[in-house]
Amino acid sequence: MTVTDLTPATPGVPDGSGTVQLVATQKRLPRWAPWAFAAGGVLVAFGILAVTGTPTIAGVLGLGAVLYALGLTITSRVVEGARWATDRLATTLVTFAFLLALIPLVSLLWIVVTRGAKLFGATFLSTDMVGVYGDMTSGGIWHAIVGTLLITGAATIISVPIGLLTAIYLVEYGRGALARWITFLVDVMTGIPSIVAGLFAFSLFTLIFGPAYRAGIMGAVALSLLMTPVVIRSVEEMLRLVPNELREASLALGVPKWLTIVKVVLRTSIAGIVTGVMLSIARVIGETAPLLLTVGLITQVNWDLFDGRMATLPVFAYRQYEQGGVGIDRAWAAALTLILIVMLLNLIARLISRLFSPKTAR
């Protein structure tokens, strides 16, 4: 360990850190050292960028992070030894990984809210796109909201009974090879690409009704293919949380098994089940690709699930983006609406699980 090791670190060292010693001993850096290095790193980065060009926030933070990691690791290596230096580097990298993941989250929410706010409003929510063309800034997403709610609702009506019954089978009845296979294939089914679900719904309805058939129900079938495994998994988890004593007590009183399931098991876990269903709705409501293939897009409200194309929020957002111009503003506003719906569903789900779950669960 020579003095040359330390020199690159000095830019990161603020004036006050006189504790740096060149002799490697068991000595540890003080607790505030990382914070001092972070502040120093950002300041030095700002200085460097101010001299060489215009400092941007991203540039200062990026360069500051590199300086911080280098400065802290090298100082630590000199003061504390190689093992602690590696430890500090690992801590730095792990923390940076987390901060890195916050960049897309924060920037995405920020940009959707700021750009989406431009057109978002009562008129935008309550009008459709009939007679809107070219650069007209009027028009809205009422038809897409109706379509999204209808199609997702239909998908829910298909998925929930099947998912619920399958979960009951897996938890209460299923034994042996069949149950193992179903569990395994449900897991595999969660990984079906959404576009393949769209192709499946298209193939199914084409074979039955011919190639020209288009209706909201096609999209609902595609979505339910994606939704059912999610419902099964969450309901299954909730049913397994119900204490076995409840089942045994009910059976011992002579209640038949099916009545035990309906009156005891399901009633105990109903809050968790509703939460799981809400989360699965939130998950499929933003699916774009299967609806793009099957349901398409129109400009006015279509209330009939079984006849004709329907507009949906994700497809609307995509098509408006493709169109460019004022369409991009509409796409952002539609994206904002979509995110608000998803967040609302998530919030309601959490509230239900918090307010209504029996005190014994978890």
Binding site: V94, A97, F98, G191, L207, R233, P243, W258
Partner: protein
């Protein structure tokens, strides 16, 4: 709800009650039949997906190259020559996304499980899960309109300094290349890889961790010697699940990439690669007849690939009996 008793510590989850269940007459049999039927329906539906895709793809699978070339966008010599570059593009984009996402996800999972203050950990995990709740079309908008301009100076620099390596040669603004698409994909698969890895890391036996700390290991040495070896298979299967997601993701690629149909490793050049899913989404709405069949045939290829990847992932998870909570 009157029936609430404290949970028993010995309640074997889901184990059969010892009392032989009364059949409950007709209603009981109907109920049992219904729920068994729903379970079997799942198997039937999964088989139906494969069968219907094959039926609809059949005209394209059996058509001669001449017939196929009547489709306006079909430029290849045969169906296989058409699917080949698409499969290549799909795999390339997904593997790049995986290469970006796995180290970051493992880092996040470690941060939440072993580095963050205990009180914050759950909230931070929820924050990452939020990324999974955002619809794919919004990721597409974000990628195309926010990320691309930001990546532009970085890619210009990369192509300028490392351009002698073919991988990074030939960059043109805007950054509508496979690298950008992979970055968006990486963000989209971060939550699932993080969630599964976090679960396994949290299951590391506390005694192993305490033992290594007691022997004087630093925190990183403890993680490297106790947590990571324990969680290796979990991280591998999490990566496979992420790969399955990335393979089938449509909108992000569709909205970001400028498509091409080549076996090309130019990561920064536009118009080189395309993925199966994005290709279907871009051409399907206007297609008819044999074109539809051809696209469904490519979809069939995607289905098979993702099915195999997911099966391997689930198989790895299933081998670890004590591990639960994956999804």
């Amino acid at each position: 709800m009157a029936v609430t008793s404290p949970p028993s510590t010995r309640a074997g989850l889901g184990s059969e009650p010892q009392v032989p269940a009364t059949k409950g007459g007709l209603a009981g049999r109907v109920f049992a039949g219904l729920s068994t039927g729903a379970g079997i329906l799942i198997l039937v539906v999964l088989a139906a997906v494969a069968v219907f895709l094959v039926i609809e793809a059949w005209p394209a699978l059996t058509a001669s190259p001449e017939e196929l070339q009547e489709i306006s966008w079909f430029k290849a010599d045969s169906l296989l020559a058409y699917v080949g570059p698409l499969v290549f593009g799909t795999l390339l984009a997904s593997i790049l996304a995986l290469a970006i996402a796995v180290p970051v996800s493992v880092g996040i999972a470690l941060f939440i499980s072993h580095y963050a203050p205990r009180r914050l950990a759950q909230g931070l995990g929820y924050l990452i899960d939020l990324l999974a709740a955002i619809p794919s079309v919004v990721y597409g908008l974000w990628g195309a309109l926010w990320l691309l301009p930001i990546l532009n100076p970085f890619f210009t620099w990369l192509s300028g300094t490392l351009g002698f390596i073919p991988l990074f040669a030939g960059y043109q603004a805007p950054a509508k290349n496979i690298m950008s698409a992979s970055i968006v994909l990486a963000v989209m698969i971060l939550p699932i890889i993080t969630a599964v890895s976090r679960e396994v890391f949290l299951q590391t036996p506390v005694l192993h961790e305490e033992a290594s700390l007691a022997l004087g290991a630093t925190r990183w040495e403890m993680v490297r010697m106790a947590v990571l070896p324990f969680g290796r298979s979990g991280v591998i299967s999490a990566s496979m699940l992420g790969l399955g997601r990335a393979l089938g993701e449509t909108m992000a690629v569709l909205m970001v990439i400028s498509p091409g149909f080549l076996y090309s490793l130019f990561l920064l050049k536009p118009g080189q690669q395309q993925t199966i899913a994005a290709n279907i989404a871009s051409k399907f709405p206007e297609a008819s007849g044999l074109a539809v069949s051809t696209l469904i045939a490519t979809g069939l290829a995607l289905f098979v690939i993702t099915f195999v990847v997911n099966m391997i992932a689930r198989w790895i998870i299933a081998r670890r009996k004590e591990f639960s909570g994956a999804n």
